[in-house]
């Protein structure tokens, strides 16, 4: 009944290198499954902080505030008994909604009722300073023994009552203390801010086109937090002497460059934080430069494992074999190629939109044209749809597009915030 979480790691790569080849690319798929993950038998203890934007703009239209209240209530109802929680109202400062003092309450029918009651009395007035909200959440989590610490942040506007530096400094303080999913609602939120929060705090970022989607989104985020079976895991990468790591990226479900987050364990081993794990599957793209070997030689280019509390949960081997058979060495692994494209897709969308905002039409057209082409090639229809709201697609396969003269602000932000979302290769299309 209480089976431990089962993790598997699978490698997708072309291990054959031409003579003199030095670069080894591989996609490692880590999947967590098993009954221990779903039946909350030994689920780790959890704490949840919900941050709701209560700035003045939330009242315009009024559905934003009313749906946000509903969403909070749904999230509170989704909390397991015994989970520590708090609700924070975010304006130009951060105030406790429930419990009244700056601590975490323990979820039970009584506290849940009281919390929902407090949420109904929320009013919209004031400004937006996301860093302040996160600071309060950080204070609430600090010193609490819960293993999984998760926060939800909802905003409808630009982070205008503090400087980007203040937000960045707060995020640095919070990094590694808790995970946070960020959501934007309405038409005025800024994709880069949401992605900055989610990326630093190992969560997801998204925008909601309609406030009515809020309750479902809050429920999904809370459920996921409750379903975490492993509180803190890291991707451990061993590489041989004389080699160097070119990059380590998470490439599914969203693109996240982890290269700079390496924590050295030993000169050969580094760990990259991945946050908490429920029943889910993530893909990592690891690229290593190794010293060239002679034809016929084999080398272990990387040993990739997921570790929690120093215990390896799953491990996989990335190999390199030098061959003079060009039929073998020129093949590109489908999955590696696919994710290389997806990562490029994410960056050309972001660069294209930034160029568009800066008024650089030729660059924006070129970048977004390439994005349309990549989305078409990989069958990423969600992204293709979002892009079609920003550009007029003339010919998708060749990437010929024209910038739309008038674009609703939220469409560009949606395309930006979702640019990092990737899709997997269809199993049937996959070669070796």
């Amino acid at each position: 009944m209480t089976q431990p979480a089962a993790f598997t790691a699978e490698v997708f790569q072309n291990q054959y290198l031409p003579a003199g080849g030095q670069i080894v690319d591989a996609v490692v798929t880590v999947t967590a499954s098993g009954s221990g993950l779903s039946a909350g038998g030994e689920a780790p203890s959890a704490a949840e902080v919900i941050m709701v934007d209560c700035s003045g703009s939330m009242a315009d239209p009024a559905t934003k505030m009313s749906e946000a209240k509903k969403a909070c209530a749904v999230a509170i109802d989704t909390l397991r008994d015994g989970v520590a929680f708090a609700v924070v109202a975010g304006r130009h400062d951060a105030r406790m909604v429930y419990p009244p003092s700056a601590t975490l309450a323990v979820a039970n029918p009584l506290t849940r009722g009281a919390a929902k009651d407090a949420v109904t009395r929320l009013t919209a007035s004031g400004g937006t300073a996301i860093g302040q909200w996160l600071s309060l959440a950080n204070t609430l989590f600090a010193g609490h023994p819960a293993e999984v610490k998760h926060a939800i942040m909802l905003t409808d506007g630009r982070n205008q009552h503090e400087t980007p530096d203040q937000l960045a400094a707060t995020l640095r303080n919070c990094e590694g203390r808790f995970t946070c999913d960020s959501r934007g609602v309405g038409a005025d939120w800024v994709a880069t801010e949401l992605r900055q929060v989610a990326s630093t705090l190992l969560g997801t970022a998204d925008g909601l086109e309609d406030p009515a989607e809020l309750p479902a989104a809050f429920q999904a985020m809370t459920q996921q937090a409750m379903g975490k079976a492993v509180a803190e895991a890291a991707l451990r990468v061993w590489t041989p002497a004389g080699s160097s790591i070119r990059f380590v990226k998470q490439v599914f479900p969203q693109v996240e460059d982890l290269t700079g987050r390496r924590v050295d364990v030993s000169p050969r081993i580094g760990e990259y934080p991945t946050g908490s794990w429920g029943a889910e599957s993530r893909d990592y793209h690891v690229s290593v430069e190794v010293p060239a070997g002679g034809v016929g030689e084999e080398l272990l280019a990387a040993r990739v494992s997921l570790v929690a509390n120093g215990q390896p949960l799953a491990q996989s081997l990335v190999l390199a074999t030098w061959t003079d058979d060009t039929a073998l060495s020129t093949k590109i692994n489908q999955r590696v190629a696919h994710y290389t494209g997806q990562a490029e897709l994410a960056s050309v969308i972001q660069e294209g939109l930034a160029a568009r905002d800066a008024g650089d039409v030729p660059t924006a057209t070129a970048k977004l044209g390439r994005a349309v082409q990549l989305a078409e090639e990989s069958g990423h229809s969600d992204t293709a749809k979002l892009l079609a709201k920003v550009v007029d697609v003339i010919d998708a396969p060749s990437g010929t597009v024209r910038l739309k003269p008038k674009v609703a602000g939220v469409d560009a932000e949606l395309a930006n915030v979702r640019s990092v979302k990737t899709i997997r290769v269809k199993k049937t299309e996959e070669g070796s």
Binding site: W238, G242, P267, G294, L300, R303
Partner: protein
């Protein structure tokens, strides 16, 4: 503990912990590729020195991982002075073919060769006082020697080991500071002097316990990193030994 074809010890039994080479034909190898095992297990696994890794070995091209080349044993520190045909130096120590070990310390062994460079070893009161002032409060008290004759040593390229003789470890330094008087703070293999291509010399600390200082420097020189010297420069090591470089 498994040993890989290149001579590294490895805790993992499938692929080497150090270099990633398959061990024992690596049963796990899916390709079943024939492993072209390198013929010669390299002499010794160089201690992972803090040297810059990655630069290719001038002899065989293997990327550098420490002081010695993993494959051919080339000494990166002595590279400038080593003639290309020289056999790979064996132990971390004196070059092959050292002359007779310096006899009982004290006797000048000034068999100065053609190189024209020598060092003069003296007991240095100023350095001694500085080291005592900086020492940990609990450190063992080393007395300053009452009498210490000047000792002279000729420098013979490509390199000269400075240290204290150890019979059990087979260390026979070219510049043997065993004494009397004994400077107990000198490591057995303390530092080497390496001939430079321009005809000068450089000093390299070999990871000594108490460090090596140059010209009254307040901080010890970085280990395994050559520091070029000119005539008249002084090397301080141990509790009171100072070596002055002379070009005659």
């Amino acid at each position: 503990m498994a040993t890989c074809p290149k001579g590294h010890e490895s805790t993992a039994s499938d692929y080497c912990d150090e270099c990633g080479a398959p061990i024992g034909g690596a049963a796990a190898s899916p390709a079943g590729s024939a492993v072209a095992a390198p013929a010669t297990p390299a002499g010794e696994a160089a201690p992972a020195a803090s040297g810059r890794s990655g630069e290719p070995c001038p002899e065989c091209g293997t990327p550098r991982a420490g002081r010695f080349c993993e494959v051919c044993g080339h000494d990166f520190l002595a590279e400038a002075g080593t003639p290309a045909t020289a056999p790979p130096s064996g132990e971390a120590g004196p070059p092959a073919g050292t002359g007779t070990p310096a006899g009982e310390g004290g006797a000048p062994t000034g068999t100065s060769t053609g190189s024209g460079w020598r060092v003069v070893v003296t007991a240095d009161r100023a350095y001694y006082d500085r080291m005592r002032a900086a020492a940990d409060p609990g450190a063992e008290d080393v007395p300053f020697p009452a009498y210490c004759p000047e000792r002279r040593f000729g420098l013979r390229p490509p390199q000269v080991l400075i240290g204290r003789q150890s019979r059990s470890r087979g260390i026979e330094p070219d510049i043997d500071l065993t004494g009397p008087p004994a400077d107990p703070a000198v490591s057995h293999s303390h530092a080497i002097l390496v001939a430079q291509p321009d005809g000068g010399w450089a000093v390299v600390d070999l990871g000594s316990a108490n460090g090596t200082y140059v010209n009254d420097g307040a901080t010890a020189i970085e280990e395994n990193t050559p520091v070029p010297l000119a005539a008249g420069d002084r090397i301080h090591l141990g509790a009171w030994s100072t070596l002055t470089l002379r070009a005659d």
